[in-house]
């Protein structure tokens, strides 16, 4: 099995210390987290983690099981790049005078779909949402024009065939949940019966 980029989506209770509990599942196994984003989900009191790692599917599946084992984790999913829609947000700080002087820069920014967030006399901040390669490319492009500062967020991702978490959460609140709330037992659904 070869390594690939996987996006892990975790729904959790909003609990202090849980970030650490989840992070050490990776660090204990000396697995690097490429990107991590955590914020409230669409459901009240439920948080959503988006974690990107480069690993084999087998490792990712085992990691998800370890994550789901944590008491305050509701659910963990993993997906390949094809199964998700994802974005990262990047901010670029550029001297305002350069943009004013160089028509080319303005054109470039438009070409990359950049929006101005702040315009001041001395600098302007642009934002771009996109994939890593796109936001990377714009750094290269802006460097000759005196890029002052750059920052990029962790990945956020929507799972293409997910139906959201509202319905699922109701399931969790039942004492006897339906089968799909524990579907992670079947993280590997391709092969119904495992073979050695």
């Amino acid at each position: 099995m070869s390594k690939a980029e996987y996006t892990i989506t975790v729904y959790t209770e909003n609990q202090i210390g849980l970030l650490n509990r989840i992070a050490i599942i990776f660090s204990r196994r000396k697995i690097n987290i490429d990107s991590l984003n955590t914020s409230p989900s669409e459901v009240d009191s439920v948080h959503r983690f988006t974690i990107v790692i480069n690993e084999t599917e087998e490792v990712v599946r085992k990691l998800c099981r370890q994550i789901e084992k944590q008491v305050e984790v509701l659910k963990a999913y993993y997906n390949t790049a094809e199964e998700i829609v994802w974005q990262e947000l990047a901010l670029y700080k550029v001297p305002t005078e350069v943009i004013q002087a160089e028509v080319k820069v303005e054109r470039l920014l438009r070409q990359y779909g950049a929006n101005a967030v702040v315009i001041r006399k001395d600098y302007t901040v642009f934002e771009v949402a996109g994939h890593r390669e796109e936001t990377d490319r714009l750094i290269k492009v802006l460097e000759p024009y005196g890029l002052i500062e750059f920052v990029r967020s962790g990945r956020v991702a929507i799972i293409k065939d997910s139906e959201g978490f509202h319905e699922k959460l109701k399931e969790f609140e039942y004492r006897e949940p339906g089968e799909d709330t524990i579907e992670n037992e079947f993280l590997d659904q391709n092969e119904k019966v495992f073979t050695m």
Binding site: N20, R61, R65, V71, E72, F172, E173, E185, F194
Partner: protein
């Protein structure tokens, strides 16, 4: 103050009374039917100890001599009683002294609730006196932990703690309570036990289709083999397990943690798995056609080299913890669930069978092991005493009814290989972590956990010196613990490895010991030291018959080795019976 999202609040009623957080802690323990606490006081837990002063009649508190002793005692209590062990410790050093025991309990799935005091909430993060970030230190070694800074949370957090510790795959829980919360008065409306947390699934749903597939495999098998672990004991499924193997007629071997779930002399019991387990179960793991793993986790000490482990077999894995399935060994059929439920369902679908020829293979292996290892170990021809013969005589005297608590090393392996067990929960040992110093405090806990039985702690001369301060606990509280030190004047297990794998380069394994009998005497505990074969029986009898605790030191051969052995890095079928074969 944010409350726990998933914990149901206690119903408010008009009978609310103002109590302190400390009283709420003790009321929670009473509501959870706790009778014994192992602990040690200190500045940050003083309010709880102050409240305990008035609960002296209802709650027994055992003052240990070191917090590591408290937590191992609680582990021994939990393992002997099948219930949750409870620990009190103060902040800072008190709490950090619990870490070894938490790691041990985590890896051996022992249910514990540990309550640690913490500095005042307003001092958190200021490097206050005896402030340690206990929550973060203990996160990797607890099933769950939580810091309480407001007393109103105490009833619901403790309810959650007990529920999590004992349900599903059990494990240790630590609750850190700041001193202000212990002192805070609040309207207490009673204690409601917890039985549901929406994000927590203690038991996976049992899937009929997998039970059916498993039964099909078992019914078609020619050489099926059962390997079982502590899951059978933790699931209180000893009876269901016996019914299963007896109907299926399948030879069954135990891991060190599964030991005593069935009597050691059960006709289908073929011995212990693992590095120093029995010859047959290891060798024939690689000859069975269906391997049925029940409540065990394929530890590397059991599997040896994974790529040489049971490659020919179809594997059925029954476990309550979904994360264990496929973790080390891929399952052909995974059977998630509590074995108390899955085993009877499986038993129903399987055919009544016997496998006389297959069972004979185990007997043949046993004979070979008897001849090459066991006979000489149990009835040695030479002058020096072996650990095995001491265990043999112990078996004869206890009839297999004692709780045997072992430490870690050669004596542990010998005790587990040869001790006889008639009842479940009779073998208490540090299996996953291999914690030297475990046995003495764990035996103290076991004596409280099941006072109806004799508790024998079998300990090496090295391990005994790691926690011998707990003799003070025995002196003061008088639990009945029979301490059997098997003294080979070496850190024997490490010496064995140095001899076998490091060309006899004995590097710091030569350990000297104090006069253990004198030490015991200093603690008011009677004792005796022997080194001759003819003394063994009378001395063991004296130890067992003595009213109360007794320390018996037996001087055994210095350079005896434990065999058979699956050398590290080799497959189970490469198990060797003698030193010459290593």
């Amino acid at each position: 103050m944010e409350t726990l999202a998933s914990t149901k609040e206690a119903p408010t009623n008009s009978t609310a009374q103002s109590v302190s957080g400390s009283v709420a802690v003790l009321e929670a323990l009473l509501a959870e039917k706790v009778d014994t606490i192992f602990g040690y006081p200190g500045g940050a837990i003083m309010p709880i100890y102050d409240a305990l002063y008035d609960y002296n009649e209802k709650l027994r508190h055992i003052l240990v001599r070191h917090e590591q002793g408290a937590i191992h005692a609680a582990q021994g209590y939990a393992r002997a009683s099948g219930d949750v062990g409870v620990v009190f410790a103060t902040s800072g050093p008190g709490a950090t002294n619990l870490v070894t025991g938490l790691a041990d309990a985590q890896i051996d799935s022992t249910p514990l609730v540990c309550i640690t005091g913490q500095v005042f909430a307003h001092l958190l993060g200021t490097d206050a006196f005896q402030e340690t970030d206990v929550i973060n230190i203990t996160t990797p070694v607890t099933k769950w932990n939580y810091q309480v800074t407001d007393a109103t949370e105490i009833p619901s957090v403790l309810a959650k703690a007990f529920y999590i510790a004992r349900s599903g795959r059990p494990g240790p829980v630590l609750i850190d309570i700041t001193k202000n919360a212990q002192m805070q008065l609040f309207d207490y409306t009673g204690y409601t036990p917890c039985n549901h947390i929406r994000s927590y699934r203690p038991k996976p749903i049992v899937r009929k289709e997998y039970i059916e597939e498993a039964a099909k495999l078992i019914n078609a098998a020619e050489r099926p083999f059962v390997v079982f672990g502590q899951g059978v004991i933790l699931g209180k499924a000893e009876k269901e397990f016996r019914q299963f193997i007896e109907k299926a007629g399948i030879p069954s071997a135990w891991t060190i943690m599964g030991m005593s779930a069935i009597p050691t002399d059960h006709p289908l019991g073929v011995g212990m798995l693992g590095m120093h387990g029995n010859y047959g179960p290891n060798l024939l793991t690689n000859e069975c056609d269906v391997l049925i793993a029940i409540g065990m986790r394929f530890d590397d000490r059991v599997t040896g080299r994974l790529d040489k482990y049971a490659k020919q077999a179809k594997v059925i894995h029954l476990d309550i913890d979904p994360a264990e399935i496929d973790k080390n060994v891929k399952a052909t059929v995974p059977v998630w669930g509590d074995c108390k439920e899955t085993l009877p369902a499986l038993t129903e679908l399987i055919e009544q069978k016997v496998y006389p020829q297959w069972l004979q293979r185990f007997r043949d292996c046993r004979e070979k092991e008897e001849e090459k290892v066991i006979r000489e170990e149990l009835n040695p021809s030479g002058d020096v005493l072996t650990m095995g013969e001491v265990i043999r005589v112990l078996n004869e005297l206890t009839g297999g009814d004692a709780i045997i608590v072992t430490d870690v090393g050669q004596h542990q392996m010998v005790a587990c290989r040869y001790a006889q067990y008639n009842k479940s929960k009779s073998n208490i040992t540090s299996g996953g972590l291999g914690t030297m110093g475990y046995a003495l405090p764990a035996a103290i806990g076991a004596a409280y956990g099941d006072p109806s039985r004799t508790t024998v702690a079998i300990i090496g001369d090295g391990g005994f010196q790691m926690t011998l301060q707990e003799l003070g606990t025995i002196m003061q509280f008088k639990p009945h613990v029979k301490i059997l030190i098997l003294n080979n004047s070496f850190l024997g297990m490490v010496r064995q490895w140095q001899q076998l794998f490091h060309e006899n380069r004995y590097s710091f394994v030569n350990i000297t010991s104090p006069d253990f009998v004198q030490v015991a005497k200093g603690f008011g505990i009677s004792g005796k030291s022997i080194s001759k074969r003819e003394e063994v029986r009378t001395a063991l009898k004296e130890m067992l018959d003595h009213p109360g605790s007794f320390l018996l030191e037996v001087m055994t051969g210095k350079e005896n080795n434990v065999f058979p052995m699956v050398p590290q890095g080799r497959g189970v079928a490469e198990i060797v019976l003698t030193r010459e074969e290593v």
